[in-house]
Chain length 364, copies 2
């Protein structure tokens, strides 16, 4: 069944979202980054991190919950390493920190071929794919990981949640090759806790090996699930550990205490890690059949998705299709329920709700 | 039931293995690296890549099969990027190339905080964990991936094998924290093709979603399995794609033609990618409770493996236990069948077989 979406021009959307951030005490620059991020999430069909969700999370855990400090300033630590920077984010809103970190990594990669920025005392950047996708669109290979705000995942063979859902995001500059950036971006748990709650409401079973009950035994009953499992058994466990270890080297503290604010001598903040590679710094320049680098990447992808694999999707393809649809519609696409939530948001900020009579609708 | 192992001093082992490599035309330096690698694999209990297996693979695909050129020299390509190098390995034996690449990355990380070496026209380096584990033991965070020699894995949602088993290996300098390096190291397929063949011989079923039949449908019957599946559905598929994309940016050609030597204008060699990070380049220096970096890493790991998770293993722990046992025994541990294979190898090289009367045995 087709669903109807209202087309909201990005500038209109961003004005309201910026006002909402500013109302919470964020600076103009932070609010602009927050709005830019939400517009990007909506553009790419990432409805779990649109403005409504982002502001709700900020209310619960961010400026409303002690995790985030509006107006905080990044402190750049001295480093003897030219291709590396370490920042203390002082719990600044994650989105402006992440955008600036990726920008800094790009500058480092331009000079050194590769660059990294580590961030201590971070606050949730929401959707890592959003940062690497922009770097990839600008021609760079980008990677980020972070420690998730809460320990919700049980290590392989264990029974108690001590790991975050710890996502990894890789973006590749494949626009010239296939029309969009390939973006490999997911959490290291099989499902998110939000999905468990949704399946519980819908009275539907979980996939196997996605969650454990209070005894630490795998369960498909969302009502009995108390913690998540990593995907791919020991392999996903290892990938989740990578984020915890990188964070531990940066300055992150015990995962079970993360985001649990207490005066216990521990730190309670997540960490971010960013890395950008200039594709020319990888190139041996000797591509078969006189292809250039982009043509070579295209040929490799065509080979992978040939031979009967034509129905396979590339990671990032769904997001690219959403972006294409958004561009075609001439604005961000929101459902009726989402539009009502924006009206509510406008009321909270003392702003006029969007005049829907002036907005187009689209059905898909 | 306990198994009996003969304890072979590493110097004795290496002398024979070096002779075997030299007999095949490899230089003294290549042969030494080949022996060093096999000793490391045996030390860490990686029996799939001990000397017998490594020399067998070299016979089938390397110096005996056209994949590898004994005595080939690495060509270092000019680069405008200080923290990055690109090498043309000219199909040199993978082990000396990989050891040298990791060494070079360490030098780059010492100067820039992070360094990378990309290798075009590579030949199989056998066990990526072997390179990162040594860097980790020396205090560095190390990572490598490569494109596997053959396309054996079906992309998620596809039916035909167009991807390699494409492993990823991460090593972390956690010896001070937990006594050994954490090493996350695995292929992106659920199982290896060798495992399918073993289960077929033993008339045992495959795990679910590990392989497909000729129609591209998942099967647990090893006799019907013609191709492998990535672990974790789209997530493992994405991880496998990462290696193919990195290789495509370096100079790798079509995965379905890899190692299928033909005069078709394509390239048929795998690629390697190496990266090393200096842990001080990540550190914000602000660890809770005045811990130093290693103490902080230890506390984080203790938290993850606490709370009822004490039975969980860390990735790399099994290998560390094997290394401990090897050190305690005072030499590399080989089964009777493996010892016979070494005698056969000695005969082939015109060397005297090891005098077993002088060698200890150990039962475990």
């Amino acid at each position: 069944m087709a669903e109807t979406f209202t087309v909201v021009p990005e500038a209109l959307h961003n004005r309201l979202v910026e006002a909402a951030y500013q109302k919470r005490g964020y600076t103009a620059e932070e609010s602009a980054a927050g709005a830019r991020f939400c517009a990007s999430a909506s553009t790419h069909g990432i409805r779990t991190h649109n403005a409504i969700k982002a502001l709700h999370l900020d209310h619960l855990f961010g400026s409303g919950g002690g995790g985030c400090v509006p107006g905080a300033e990044i402190r750049r630590l001295p480093s003897r390493f030219g291709a590396s920077q370490v920042w203390d984010a002082n719990r600044k809103l994650g989105q402006p920190v992440a955008y600036e970190a990726i920008e800094t990594c790009i500058g480092l990669a331009d000079r050194h071929g590769i660059g990294q920025v580590s961030v201590d005392n971070a606050f949730h950047y929401l959707w890592g794919g959003g940062y690497v996708i922009e770097a990839a669109r600008r021609g760079y290979i980008a990677y980020t990981n972070c420690t998730a705000a809460l320990a919700e995942v049980v290590p392989f063979g264990g029974r108690f949640a001590t790991l975050g859902t710890n996502p990894h995001s890789w973006g590749f500059p494949t626009t010239e090759a296939v029309g969009f950036p390939v973006v490999v971006d997911w959490a290291t748990s099989v499902v998110a806790m939000g999905r468990v709650q949704q399946l519980k409401r819908e009275n539907k079973p979980l996939p196997p090996n996605a969650a454990v009950d209070a005894e630490g035994l795998a369960t498909t009953d969302p009502a009995k699930a108390v913690a998540l499992l990593p995907f791919g058994a020991h392999k996903g466990y290892g990938l989740s550990l990578v984020n915890e270890l990188v964070a531990a080297f940066i300055g992150g503290s015990l995962p079970t205490l993360r985001s649990r604010w207490a005066d216990d001598g521990e730190k309670h903040t997540p960490c971010f890690y960013f890395q950008v590679i200039h594709p020319e710094a990888l190139s041996g320049g000797a591509f078969a059949r006189s292809r250039n680098q982009a043509e070579n990447v295209r040929s490799v992808i065509q080979d992978i998705l040939g031979h009967g694999n034509e129905a396979c999707l590339l990671p990032g393809q769904v997001e690219a299709e959403a972006a294409r649809r958004t561009a075609e519609a001439g604005g961000l696409l929101f459902t009726a329920v989402e539009m009502d939530a924006f009206d509510e948001l406008a009321r909270e900020c003392g702003e006029a709700p969007w005049d829907r009579t002036g907005l187009k609708t689209k059905s898909y």
